[in-house]
Symmetry: C2
Subunit: 151 residues, 2 copies
């Protein structure tokens, strides 16, 4: 709608200059990364390739494309991990380059039911985190398979 269709990479933007995490799948105009955030192994991001700041900088077609990827990631997290809740967010206050956080939350995690950005409420035994970690390859296989099926 507004903004150029393919803006140039922005010098100094961490999501223009680097992947921002472990790339799970790179599509046309977006990538899925594992964020590797401490305490939240099942924390993924769908990052737009172009440096645009706001959701409404995308037209409806591109919104639908990006949302389809977000939904595939959410579905894989639900299917493979049975989390208590999925959290979706596009904030971008620090890095105004459009990216969706897709986070599997568990009632035992360090912050639940508070958002991951709030003050932690408890410590989590390492085994719990490793239990999730051990399933991430299944999550990521499902993401790749579903996106391939949609292509």
């Amino acid at each position: 709608m507004t903004g150029p269709a393919s803006p140039l990479p922005v010098h100094g933007c961490p999501l223009c200059e680097a992947d921002g995490g472990t790339v799970v799948l790179a599509g046309s105009g977006w990538r899925v990364i594992r964020a590797n955030e401490a305490g939240f192994p099942a924390f993924y991001r769908v990052v737009l390739t172009d440096h645009v700041a706001e959701w409404t900088d995308l037209d409806e077609l591109r919104q639908a494309e990006v949302l389809r990827v977000v939904s595939v990631v959410e579905r894989a997290l639900r299917d493979q991990l049975q989390p208590t809740k999925i959290n979706l967010a596009a904030l971008g206050n620090v890095v105004p380059h459009l990216h969706w956080h897709v986070i599997a939350r568990f009632d035992w995690d360090s912050h639940f039911p508070a958002p991951v950005w709030a003050v932690p409420l408890r410590q989590v035994p390492e085994e719990r985190l490793q239990g999730v970690q051990s399933r991430l390859s299944c999550v990521e296989d499902q993401i790749r398979q579903r996106m391939a099926a949609l292509a």
Copy 2:
């Protein structure tokens, strides 16, 4: 996709049993509310009428409908308030009834650039908040007009 098409209201759910804020506009299957959150006058929510928990409980058609409303709210906030950033989030850890937070953020607000759920960083002069507050009727007029135009 999963879940019944129109689940019954859930006893004890605050978004089944009450509006959850000041209703700006009620549509078919959703409502836009002003959240009346202290320190964040331009904090709106798009609340699903049905009690469903997760984004992927909606089929693509309903996702697109809800996202169109979210985008109209975001666009009205951008046009009328020129915020530093828009924040979008569907968390639902405390109230697992699908609702999108649509928040206009300002570089002077109590938490910026941290999320609104983090620890506050500063106090905000009341005049700043009143300046935003005085523009909300324009935001809400635009929301109603754009949704009417789309109907």
